[in-house]
């Protein structure tokens, strides 16, 4: 039958990921081609590395039996943008930065703050990665109205819709978002936009790195026009670098700027300062360890202090309770101690970069204890042959 998609030829490209070197990659250009590739992979039990912009491939447990890659970059472009409605539909391989530029011209902004030039819609959805503006934007899942996906059996399906409120059936988009491509392959998304703020200002300050100042900054995060708030601190430093991005109406931003000025000695900063800080967090530097921990707000400073005492640099979103840290650690026990501390303070710790030798001793991800049985059952039902990113997700799924 002519409407049955053919499997495109794979292309050579060497990609080293934890636990595997993947040398051949498919680059389908339609969901149907994705379906054909997945159906065959399931039949032959061929493990696939699912990728988008390849910005977070290191963020995983060691791969298991992966022999081919499936890149979504060939499915790219915004095919529907409705400025009157504030929604759009984009293919999974569409770079997030392209959408930001497209919608800004019509007075909207995309509430996805994923780092890096090459971040794609599909990668952002799969990893649920957020940036400092999560304070204003919320989670990735909050921006998703509907998803187009292909199952491990090759079936092309959709979930959700294109309207801003919807309880029609199970909310599978929530399940797929952040599942790191282990349940389905996302090929497209309907996304909800936010009105672009009338004005935006970026402020910086260099307060003394005290608990009192940290808590004062955290309180500033509750001002209505604060979109992002970052506290950066080096180990042993007596000072912190604080950056705030404000957005909204002129009256609101001016009012909140005055409130901030009453607490911090501020100056204007470059308009892209938050973007720069966000992207720096995601850079693959020479550090041995890059981690992200999250705790309830009142415990954030204590966690950050403990991490600083280990000699790591921290970049904190105080209003979110998120601590990004990077540097060198002597042993894996220190890393696990950070995770344990985060857990006891109501949160979690994810290890984005760490020495290969440690990767086999722990789980990069940090799932709540007790859901293992459900996780395995769900995975088995969605991907019975285990072809989607095998070994890489939580519990080496």
């Amino acid at each position: 039958m002519s409407d049955i998609a053919c499997i495109p030829d794979s292309k050579p490209c060497r990609i080293q990921i934890p636990g595997a070197l993947v040398e051949q990659h498919y680059e389908p250009t339609t969901p149907e081609e994705v379906g054909a590739i997945l159906a065959e992979a399931t039949e032959k039990k061929t493990g696939l590395l699912i990728s988008g912009g390849r910005t977070r491939l290191h963020w995983a447990n060691p791969a298991r039996d992966i022999s081919r890659g499936l890149s979504l970059v060939g499915l790219a472009g915004v095919d529907q943008f409705e400025p009157e409605e504030g929604v759009l539909h984009a293919a999974a391989g569409t770079p997030v930065r392209e959408i930001r530029a497209l919608v800004a011209a019509e007075g909207w902004e995309l509430p996805l703050d994923s780092p890096g030039e090459r971040s794609t819609v599909g990668g952002t959805v799969a990893s649920a990665v957020v940036g400092p503006r999560a304070h204003a934007f919320g989670r990735v899942a909050d921006a998703i109205l509907g998803l187009d996906v292909v199952g491990a059996d090759g079936a092309v399906s959709k979930t959700g819709g294109r309207v801003v409120k919807n309880v029609t059936g199970y909310d599978l988009a929530k399940l797929y978002c952040g599942s790191f491509g282990t349940l389905v392959v996302v090929t497209g998304a309907w996304l909800r936009l936010r009105p672009k703020p009338a004005i935006r200002r970026v402020l910086s300050a260099r307060p003394e790195a005290s608990r009192a100042n940290f808590e004062a900054c955290r309180a500033l995060g509750r001002l209505a026009s604060v979109r992002a708030l970052v506290w950066n601190q080096d180990p042993g430093s007596a000072f912190a670098d604080v950056v705030l991005e404000l957005g909204g109406s002129e009256e609101g931003v001016t009012h909140d700027r005055d409130r901030i000025a009453a607490v911090l000695e501020i100056e204007e900063a470059a308009s892209n300062r938050i973007d720069v800080l966000r992207d720096q967090r995601a850079e693959m530097g020479r550090e041995d360890v890059v981690l992200r921990a999250r705790v309830i707000g009142t415990e954030c400073e204590k966690l950050a202090r403990a991490i600083l005492e280990l000699g790591l640099h921290v970049s904190i979103d105080p209003a979110l309770g998120v601590v990004h840290a990077r540097g060198t650690l002597d042993d894996v026990k220190s890393l696990l101690a950070i995770r344990e501390r985060a857990r006891t303070q109501g949160g979690l710790a994810i290890f984005e970069v760490l020495p290969d030798a440690w990767r086999t001793q722990l789980d990069v991800f940090d799932e709540a204890i007790g859901t293992e049985s459900l996780r395995l059952t769900l995975k088995k039902r969605f991907d019975p042959a285990g072809i989607l990113n095998p070994g890489r997700f939580v519990g080496s799924l």
């Binding site: 979930t159 309880v167 978002c177 009105p195 939580v394």
Partner: protein
């Protein structure tokens, strides 16, 4: 149908919750035959009123041992039949699990049992300057557990989102009787987003017995506007202008003329001129210094669509009066007919004018009384059909019109439920939105939690498993007639 409950099951359930919390006599069960969807009542085998997670788990295990299905229920205010006792089920009513277990005001978190009433939580935390944002119209009686099951919305969804945006963690009794916890206090886990999948699953994945919820700061300033239009289509166009302007009001609600007249003739009278074609209520909240200019913008946009007058609430009393025109609507509709079918669908906001004209055409053609009250800012319409279900011909026309309304909404890119859920009511209309391939992953999700379909059978998507009335194993039960 002869509704019977195995005596051995009743004895065991009575031992679990005590005789005062196990209802099985006919008179006791009558009130539990349906939720807010009154069209297809089903009498449960028994109603259990547990007070603890352990009791819920034991009830579930007892039901399983007797091959009897079970259905969770909150306050029974749902409108899609999600709490109907399908398949001769036992109802597990969580309204007595109604304690607020913890309030962490600094981190804006509360831990509650599922039977806590929505509005009572907000009242209890108001002195901290906090509230629980989801505000379904039934918030004075509906429970947090029910809000979670239905992913309840409300007028202020436009700015604050639906229930799913406010749930951080859950404790749940799974359909096999195990107790599991999902999520954490920061609302982010590294594995699958179980909480996101459970919220809105209408009690088909298990029974929520505890919830950690996110609290929201009470806004510093609030402005409420009431704009009067000559017709509902013009009011819808004004909503489109506001959306495009970049403002994000907390709420934008439209009430049509028939509803206004019913309200003004009722105890909910809000002083709206009955000649008005439609009323648009707009609420803005946030930093008080921003609100004056936002009000001025709204005025301009409404007048551009021919708004007759626009009032700004001068005080709390007037704000309450404006909202009475919205919140009293369903009660007032009782004046129009003995029964009310509250529909729920969503369309792209730019399609509101045409869909409302279409809905009117459908109801006119079927000779039905229609009243519209809806969340215009979300495109969430609620065509309310007033009828008398004792008239079989009228009832048939109501059902036919409802089907046509859903088809019309889907045809313009909409969906068949925005906040009431699918339940029983719309299960057989899912095909309008989803293909069998779209539904297959939904089955996979449900079967991962609820493989044999014993937990809230027949809701959202059809259940294939047999329950007591059709299960051959059930034939030998020492059944006891009800009453």
């Amino acid at each position: 149908m002869n509704h019977v409950a195995p005596q051995s099951l009743l004895d065991r359930l009575t031992r679990i919750v005590g005789p005062e919390n196990c209802l099985s006599r006919e008179g006791e069960l009558f009130a539990y035959e349906c939720d807010g969807l009154t069209l297809e009542p089903r009498r449960p085998l028994a109603v259990l009123l547990p007070k603890t997670t352990r009791e819920v788990a034991e009830i579930v295990r007892a039901c399983r041992d007797h091959d009897v299905c079970f259905v969770p229920r909150g306050a029974g205010t749902g409108l899609s039949g999600g709490a109907h006792a399908t398949e001769n089920s036992v109802l597990i009513e969580c309204s007595r699990m109604n304690r607020i277990l913890e309030v962490d005001a600094e981190n804006r978190i509360a831990v509650v049992q599922p039977g806590v009433v929505n509005a009572e939580l907000s009242t209890a935390i108001a002195h901290h300057g906090l509230f629980f944002a989801p505000d379904p119209s039934s918030q004075q009686v509906c429970t947090i557990g029910g809000n979670i099951a239905e992913n309840a919305g409300g007028p202020h969804t436009l700015k604050y989102g639906t229930t799913t945006n406010h749930i951080l963690a859950l404790e749940m009794v799974l359909p096999d009787g195990q107790v599991e916890r999902f999520g954490n206090r920061v609302g982010e886990t590294a594995g699958y987003d179980w909480v996101g999948a459970i919220v809105g699953s209408e009690g088909t994945l298990g029974i929520v017995t505890e919830a950690t919820v996110r609290l929201t700061s009470i806004p510093e300033g609030v402005e409420t506007l009431l704009a009067i239009f000559d017709d509902v289509v013009a009011a819808c166009r004004a909503v489109g202008r506001v959306i495009r302007s970049g403002l994000v009001p907390a709420a934008m609600e439209i009430v049509d003329q028939r509803t206004i007249r019913a309200i003004e003739a009722s105890v909910y009278a809000a002083g709206i001129p009955t000649s008005a074609g439609a009323v648009l209520i707009i609420e803005l909240d946030g930093n008080p210094v921003c609100l004056d200019s936002e009000v001025a913008t709204i005025r301009k946009l409404c007048h551009a669509e021919g708004c007759r007058t626009i009032e700004r609430a001068r005080d709390e009393e007037e704000r309450t009066r404006f909202w009475r025109a919205r919140k009293g609507a369903f009660g007032a509709m009782g004046r129009l007919a003995p029964d009310l079918y509250v529909h729920d669908a969503v369309v792209p906001r730019t399609r509101l004018p045409e869909i409302l004209e279409k809905v009117c055409e459908i109801c006119d053609r079927h000779r039905l009384k229609l009243a519209n009250v809806f969340h215009a800012g979300d495109g969430n319409i609620h065509p309310n059909i007033c009828f008398d279900k004792r008239d079989p011909d009228e009832l048939a026309r109501v059902m036919k019109a409802g089907e046509e309304i859903l088809e019309a909404c889907v045809a313009v890119g909409g969906v068949i439920s925005g906040e009431h859920g699918i339940g029983l009511e719309k299960r057989d209309y899912l095909h309008l939105v989803f293909t069998p391939l779209d539904l297959e992953p939904m089955y996979r999700l449900r079967e991962s939690f609820n493989p044999d379909g014993v937990c809230n059978p027949g809701k959202i998507i059809p259940t294939t498993r047999f329950c007591v009335e059709s299960n051959p194993k059930a034939r030998g039960y020492d059944a006891v007639p009800l009453g």
